[in-house]
């Protein structure tokens, strides 16, 4: 290779109650990113090319999932980063935080079954032209695990269908219109309930999640190169 490929720096925010931050850090590192832990009290982000908000139960998910995390200093910094066009991926609880923070439309409510679901689900990629899905094909089915009690997505009535990036092929939670993941209007912020960071190696049952994370790593790398 003529040029050395810089590793993009991708932050992973740890809130009190985050669970999947270590898996996200590990997966990003395994997929050729420099994964940077970000503590929830940090008011300014370090120099980053993308940010991941991981799964878990931030602040105990008191009141509503993600409702308290929205007020943490790191979330404010992530909002400012996103407003400047920065790449932000919210997984599960991270998706809930992004909705509560207003970076993504809609809300996530208790599963229709009232049961916690924890299993691999087939998810259809609706768009391959976002920074998070360039390694996927539109219409492709990815098998990625979900594990949540509050994953029923309710969109605003005026949601642009073009913002739907993933749909369940076998809806596990009663999400409206089978929606599993949405992006913002400008496409630089994505949230989804399935956990790509738990599906990055065949040993884990599926490596399909790596397609999403590698898309993010490459998009972040492009930005790192552009800023040099």
């Amino acid at each position: 290779m003529a040029m050395s490929r810089p590793q993009p720096r991708i932050g992973v925010v740890t809130y009190p109650g985050s669970q999947d931050d270590r898996d996200a850090l590990w997966a990003l590192g395994a997929l050729d990113a420099e994964a940077v832990p970000v503590w929830h009290e940090e008011r300014e982000l370090p120099s980053l090319d993308a940010v991941v908000l991981p799964g878990g139960f931030s602040y105990g998910d008191y009141l509503r999932c993600g409702a308290i995390a929205r007020f943490s200093p790191a979330t404010a910094a992530v909002c400012a980063f996103a407003d400047q066009g920065g790449l932000v991926l919210g997984i599960c609880n991270g998706f809930q935080v992004l909705c509560e923070a207003g970076l993504l439309p809609g809300a996530l409510l208790r599963n229709e079954s009232l049961r916690f679901v924890c299993r691999d689900v087939p998810v259809r990629v609706e768009r391959s032209d976002t920074p998070f899905t360039t390694r996927c094909d539109a219409g492709q089915t990815l098998v990625i695990p979900v594990k949540h009690g509050d994953g029923r997505y309710v969109p605003p009535t005026d949601l642009d269908p073009a913002q739907i990036v993933f749909r369940y092929r076998d809806n596990p939670n009663g999400s409206v219109d089978d929606i599993a993941g949405v992006c913002n209007e400008t496409g630089n912020v994505l949230g989804l309930m399935p956990h790509p960071e738990h599906a990055v190696d065949p040993l884990l049952g599926s490596a399909d999640g790596a397609l999403i994370l590698v898309s993010l790593v490459e998009a972040a790398r492009d930005r790192a190169l552009a800023s040099v």
Binding site: A67, F71, G106, L109, E112, S113, V154, G174
Partner: protein, 81 residues
């Protein structure tokens, strides 16, 4: 002043908790319909008068206590300032 905030799932939002409660009540022999499950937040707020207290609690609801996309809220104020 003491305030009570009632937070309800908005009309039209599916409420599986309400449905489960309704089924359980039917199981007990009650003839019920339309059960919905919400939240109650009791709090004390310092304000000079009732209007000021209400305005503060309104802002709390808009900013945190309710998510306007999926929930409606109702504020009750109790007692003297």
């Amino acid at each position: 002043m003491k305030a009570t905030v009632l937070v309800r799932p908005k009309t039209g939002i599916l409420d599986p908790q309400g449905e489960a409660v309704e089924r359980a009540l039917e199981h007990l022999g009650f003839a019920v319909s339309g059960a919905r499950v919400g939240k109650v937040v009791d709090l004390e707020v310092s304000a000079d008068d009732e209007a000021g207290a209400r305005a503060q609690v309104e802002r709390m609801c808009e900013q945190l206590l309710a998510n306007p996309l999926i929930e409606s809220y109702e504020i009750e104020l109790h007692g003297d300032v």
